[in-house]
């Protein structure tokens, strides 16, 4: 078995827009071991989103190889990619992307609908996932009744439901205030530490990136910088040092 969860070899991605060829990625090679917590940074247009799409099996490379958990993703069909996303990857988005008018519990269940799981266990597993992000008692709330931080926690619970090996978070704190951002990063750190889930966060905030063990900087389709973080921030400790706030958060409109 491949020691690296993600192995990328000389990856190119070119978009064709009419007569223009946009080279989003120009020969990337990268290896991310199991259990990593990696931040990807870079200006918009640097190629980081393209890489995230490919790593998340939403897109395929134009050339080069991408192995996820030893599987050559570039060779897979549309529905096989969907299956990989379902079983191995959890997505967390900046705008949470929860289904409106649907309870937190059912939002968390969503990926289960597309896997061959035992239906009788759906509720139980979704509750467990909600509990692990500390939202068990709000299982029947709709997204509009939850604060931004709570919505993002529901989204994280959804990404966890199929016990993925990798969680991809695209600007997960982009729509949250700083205290809530620390809480969310704390959840990621806990999942990484306790469950050994690999986490890749795309962010443009250096503060957020320093919760991870490794930062990869992108520029013009190349990796500009790939460095270890000497002393990652510890969200749990920071949170305990922050002044107490009202437990009930203001629901976002």
């Amino acid at each position: 078995m491949d020691s690296a969860l993600i192995r990328i070899e000389n990856l190119h991605k070119t978009y064709h827009m009419g007569d223009n060829h946009v080279h989003a990625l120009r020969g990337i090679s990268l290896e991310i071991p199991r259990g990593s917590f990696v931040s990807i940074m870079g200006a918009s247009g640097s190629g980081k989103s393209t890489l995230m799409n490919i790593v998340g099996c939403l897109d395929k490379p134009s050339s080069g190889k991408y192995y996820l958990d030893g599987v050559d993703v570039g060779a897979l069909e549309r529905d096989e990619l969907a299956d990989i996303r379902n079983r191995k990857v959890g997505f967390v988005f900046q705008q949470f992307n929860l289904l409106a008018r649907t309870s937190a519990l059912e939002n968390v269940e969503l990926p289960l609908l597309y896997s061959d799981n035992d239906k009788s266990k759906f509720k139980e597993r979704a509750m467990a996932a909600l509990t692990s992000v500390g939202l068990a008692e709000r299982y029947d709330h709709h997204p509009s009744q939850l604060s931004g931080g709570q919505q993002q926690r529901v989204a994280i619970a959804r990404s966890l439901i199929n016990n993925p090996q990798l969680i991809l978070a695209d600007e997960p704190t982009g729509a949250l205030d700083s205290r809530t951002s620390v809480e969310i990063m704390g959840i990621f750190q806990k999942l990484n530490r306790e469950k050994g889930i690999s986490i890749v966060v795309v962010t443009h905030e250096p503060d957020i990136a320093h919760y991870s063990d490794r930062i990869i900087q992108f520029k013009d389709g190349h990796i500009m910088l790939d460095e270890r973080v000497p002393n990652p921030r510890n969200a749990e400790r920071e949170l305990s040092e922050l002044p107490e706030v009202e437990e009930e958060e203001e629901p976002v409109a």
Binding site: G56, D83, N86, R87, F93, L99, R101, L113, Y114
Partner: protein, 411 residues
């Protein structure tokens, strides 16, 4: 099976979110299916009427009428010549092997009097076989016999309308009524038959021996001269209608001594054939109505397609998310297809209810006979599902083939 159930749950939730929109979309199907059901019910109601009419006339009935009269090149209509006789009627019964019964028939409008009451009705002068041919049954009393015909007995059978109008509540059996001042003894009353297809009251009649009718009631006038009759009513053996008609034609040509070059001076018609022709015309009308109605079903289908396309566009982001968490092409396809079929099936069921109501309304207010048949309901159900699949497929396919990255990015 689980997947289908799950798709249905998702679909019903999506439909509930936009209640008004779903209702308006269904309205197209409701009207379409309702119109088809109502129009088909009108068509089959008319056909059913004709079947009833055949049944009320009696089965395998053939009518023989005198032909047209040719006086110096002027041809009068059928039935005007006086070429049929009681003898002809008797000969048809005795000499045509495929004829079961035959009866002469002479009818006339007369005033009938009992006590101080009087009533205008039709007098039917016939042979006893007439009752069998027309499938007329007696409510009370006895039919008259061949003996009554021979002896010109003054006996009469009364239809229910006549009884109601001149006897009131009194028992008519054995009483004496007067027709043209001639006294008749009522020996029986007929089981009511109701109206025929043309709205004519079939119970407004008096039946009496042909001989009595001609001599005592319809006397005088050229048409009623001795022996000549208005028509002959014949009942053929089952399935031998055409043979019986051929036999009658051959027999009458011989009896009337017609040369090979001469036209028939009579006319032989099968009531069933006439009814069949009428039935065909009715069916064509029904088909026409139904096909016009089904156009609105297609329009309803286009409405579903339109709304599903809007829905797919609105929910692009949701589709992207579902794809990201692992929904395959078929998962998305079935979700939207089930949604479209739910719309059309739900609309179809309501349309069936509306069509049934409409057909009741038509028969109540317009007085037409309508008949909602089970096959038409099943067909409507099936077709509304088909409309959903047909018009839902393109939008569902469009949704299923969205690029997940672009769908997720869609605002």
């Amino acid at each position: 099976m689980n997947k289908v159930f799950q798709s249905m749950r998702i679909a019903f939730r999506a439909l509930r979110v936009n209640k008004l929109r779903s209702a308006l979309t269904m309205l197209g199907i409701i009207i379409g299916v309702g119109a088809v059901i109502a129009m088909v019910s009108v068509g089959s109601g008319a056909t059913d009427r004709i079947h009833q009419q055949i049944a009320s006339i009696g089965s395998n009935v053939i009518i023989v009428q005198p032909g047209s009269q040719n006086t110096g090149g002027v041809k009068s209509g059928n039935g005007n010549a006086q070429t049929l006789t009681e003898e002809d009627a008797r000969a048809i019964q005795e000499e045509c092997p495929d004829v079961m019964y035959s009866s002469p028939l002479q009818q006339n409008q007369q005033q009938v009097v009992y006590g101080s009451n009087n009533w205008g009705t039709r007098i039917y002068g016939v042979a006893p076989e007439y009752l069998t041919i027309r499938d007329l049954r007696l409510e009370e009393g006895e039919p008259f016999t061949t003996e009554d015909v021979k002896s010109t007995n003054k006996v009469a059978l009364l239809g229910k309308t006549v009884v109601d109008n001149i006897f009131g509540g009194e028992d008519p059996i054995g009483k004496t009524i007067r027709v043209r001042k001639v006294p008749f003894t009522v020996i029986g009353t007929l089981v009511p038959k109701g109206q025929n297809a043309n709205g004519q009251d079939q119970d407004d009649m008096i039946i009496m021996p042909i001989t009595t009718a001609k001599k005592k009631v319809m006397g005088g006038g050229r048409q009623n001269s001795w022996q000549q009759i208005g028509q002959v009513l014949v009942q053929a053996r089952d399935g031998r209608n055409q043979n019986a008609m051929d036999e009658i034609e051959a027999l009458l040509r011989q009896r009337h001594r017609l040369q090979a070059t001469e036209d028939n001076d009579f006319q032989v018609r099968s009531l069933e054939e006439m009814a069949a022709a009428q039935e065909q015309a009715t069916q064509i009308m029904g088909l026409l109505l139904a096909s016009i109605a089904s156009v609105s079903l297609i329009v309803g289908g286009i409405g579903i397609m339109n709304i599903m396309l809007v829905s797919v566009t609105e929910r692009t982001k949701e589709i992207g998310l579902r794809q990201a968490v692992g929904a395959k092409t078929n998962d998305i396809l079935s979700q939207f297809l089930v949604e479209a079929v739910s719309l059309s099936l739900l609309g179809g069921c309501m349309g069936i209810a509306m069509g049934v109501l409409a057909s009741f309304a038509i028969s109540y207010f317009a007085g037409w006979n309508t008949l909602v048949s089970l096959p038409s309901i099943l067909a409507a159900f099936f077709f509304s599902a088909l409309v959903g699949v047909f018009f839902g497929f393109y939008p569902a396919r469009k949704a299923a083939l969205l690029d997940p990255i672009e769908a997720l990015r869609y605002e």
